[in-house]
């Protein structure tokens, strides 16, 4: 029995940060010494290779691995700067026509032999893409933002994960804006955990640097960036590995003029 942890990164709602989290978390875990592979399970609209800046190094994908046209090692793309991290690129969209849960399970079984962590970047929605990915995962991390629609979708997804026996399921609250929360213009952390009733694995503040890093294909956690989002992803990686790190407190985030100036410089969010 392998002690590999196979974690599904899912959300239900699109655009809340699954791929960004998978990329940053993958890098963070790799930097902390864990051999990590990230698997793009979104065969229709694949993005994980873009966020990692590896799209021009893809030769083989999951499809060729399944068809046994190539060996797994040939398909895996190693990250140049972070050798502990590898990417298994998504197959082509035609695969959606015939891919079954057992195919995803076969891919993951191959990966589990060589890695400590397998992070599966799940497509948005709850249709076949999600079902196939969930069938291959053991644990899950649900990403949501403090917005009613995202929380509603996350609730649905958690219900489905419970039915499939994926556990433990943990929660990451993404794109938190402390100012809006304190003005009660945004759902509070308690509002979210009240409905979803899941342990909070991490809290990531809204950070414009994420957009910049995404476009460049350089995840924030790759550099020694002191941006709050990078720190949050680093913390999440450590918590996944069992360390007890206190969550960032949105209400504390705005105290002190100096802290505010620092925040302004880093995130450029007013």
């Amino acid at each position: 029995m392998s002690t590999t942890r196979t974690i599904l990164i899912c959300s239900g709602k699109g655009g809340v940060g699954k791929t960004t989290t998978t990329a940053n978390l993958g890098i963070a875990l790799a930097r902390q010494g864990a051999k990590t592979v990230v698997l793009d399970a979104d065969f229709g609209l694949r993005n994980l290779d873009l966020l990692l800046g590896l799209e021009n190094r893809i030769v083989y994908t999951a499809q060729e691995v399944l068809a046994e046209t190539c060996r797994l090692e040939q398909a895996l793309v190693k990250h140049k700067q972070e050798p502990n991290l590898a990417l298994l690129p998504a197959g082509n969209p035609r695969m959606l026509e015939w891919l079954k849960p057992k195919d995803m399970q076969a891919i993951v079984a191959l990966l589990e032999r060589q890695f400590d962590y397998v992070l599966i970047d799940c497509p948005a929605g709850i249709e076949d893409g999600f079902k196939n990915a969930a069938a291959a995962a053991r644990e899950a991390v649900v990403i949501t933002t403090p917005e009613v629609a995202a929380v509603r979708d996350a609730d649905r997804v958690i219900g489905l994960l419970n039915t499939q026996g994926v556990q433990p399921v943990q929660l990451v609250l993404n794109r938190v804006r402390p100012k809006m929360m304190s003005n009660q213009e945004m759902l509070s952390v308690d509002d979210v955990t009240d409905i979803l009733a899941l342990p909070l694995l991490g809290l990531v503040f809204e950070d414009e640097q994420v957009i910049v890093s995404t476009n460049r294909g350089e995840p924030l956690t790759l550099s020694d960036s002191s941006s709050p989002a990078a720190q949050a992803y680093g913390n999440i990686a450590q918590r996944l590995q069992g360390e007890d790190i206190p969550l960032m407190d949105p209400s504390q985030a705005r105290r002190g003029l100096r802290a505010r100036m620092r925040k302004l410089m880093q995130t450029r969010i007013f």
């Binding site: 609730d155 219900g159 419970n162 499939q164």
Partner: protein, 212 residues
């Protein structure tokens, strides 16, 4: 050898299962689910119980589409039976008054729909996006934030009660109302019933829970 789940109006299959299994003599047991609606986890529990008793599960038939879907999802051989199967009398029929209450422990998440002909007592929350329906009363020992439908087969005396009644929508018989917008008073259990054809919400009245 067919294992028939008991009539929903008489017994819960979980209660009768050990008894039914002890009467199975053949190694392969087919399962007739009747009109029970079984989820994947229900069927998984059933399978486990059957194998623990030393039998193997053969074909599964049921009237409820969801049961057949759940069974197929688990990879079991399942098919829909269209007509209510003629039920042989169980040896030793137990003459019991039909149970009036369905007790469910757990929170209903968005997309879930718990329905029954009996009064439902839910120990947990009904999240926004979840639904709970009963032909009789709906009692939520928790927060009702989804959609609740009491008296869904036409009973206008049905009630909806919750520790925190803040549903998206309330329905009693065929009357529909939006849930209240304001926050509830902390600790106040409320009930909703039809008064002059309109759904009215008031603090839960203790006397109304006595058997009618």
């Amino acid at each position: 050898m067919t294992l028939r789940l008991p009539d929903q109006r008489l017994d819960h299959w979980r209660d009768r299962l050990p008894d039914l299994l002890s009467r199975c003599s053949q190694p392969i047991v087919d399962l007739d689910c009747g009109d029970w609606v079984l989820t994947c986890s229900d069927l998984a529990d059933l399978c486990a119980a059957v194998s623990e008793a030393g039998h193997q599960l053969g074909r599964i038939t049921g009237q409820a589409a969801k049961t057949v879907v759940s069974a197929s999802a688990l990879g079991l051989d399942a098919s829909r039976s269209n007509t209510p199967s003629s039920r042989e009398l169980q040896p030793n029929p137990v003459a019991k008054a039909p149970s009036e209450l369905l007790f469910h422990h757990g929170t209903l998440r968005s997309g879930d729909h718990l329905q029954s002909e009996r009064t439902i007592l839910l120990y947990g929350d009904v999240n926004p996006g979840a639904r709970i329906s009963s032909a009789a009363d709906v009692l939520v020992w928790g927060r009702l934030r989804g959609v609740a439908h009491a008296g869904c087969e036409g009973s206008t005396t049905a009630k909806i009660v919750a520790l925190q009644l803040r549903p998206l929508q309330l329905r009693i018989a065929d009357v529909v109302a939006r849930g209240p917008e304001d926050l509830p008073q902390a600790g106040l259990a409320e009930q909703a019933e039809l008064k002059d054809g309109v759904i009215a919400i008031e603090p839960a009245v203790i006397q109304s829970f006595q058997k009618r």
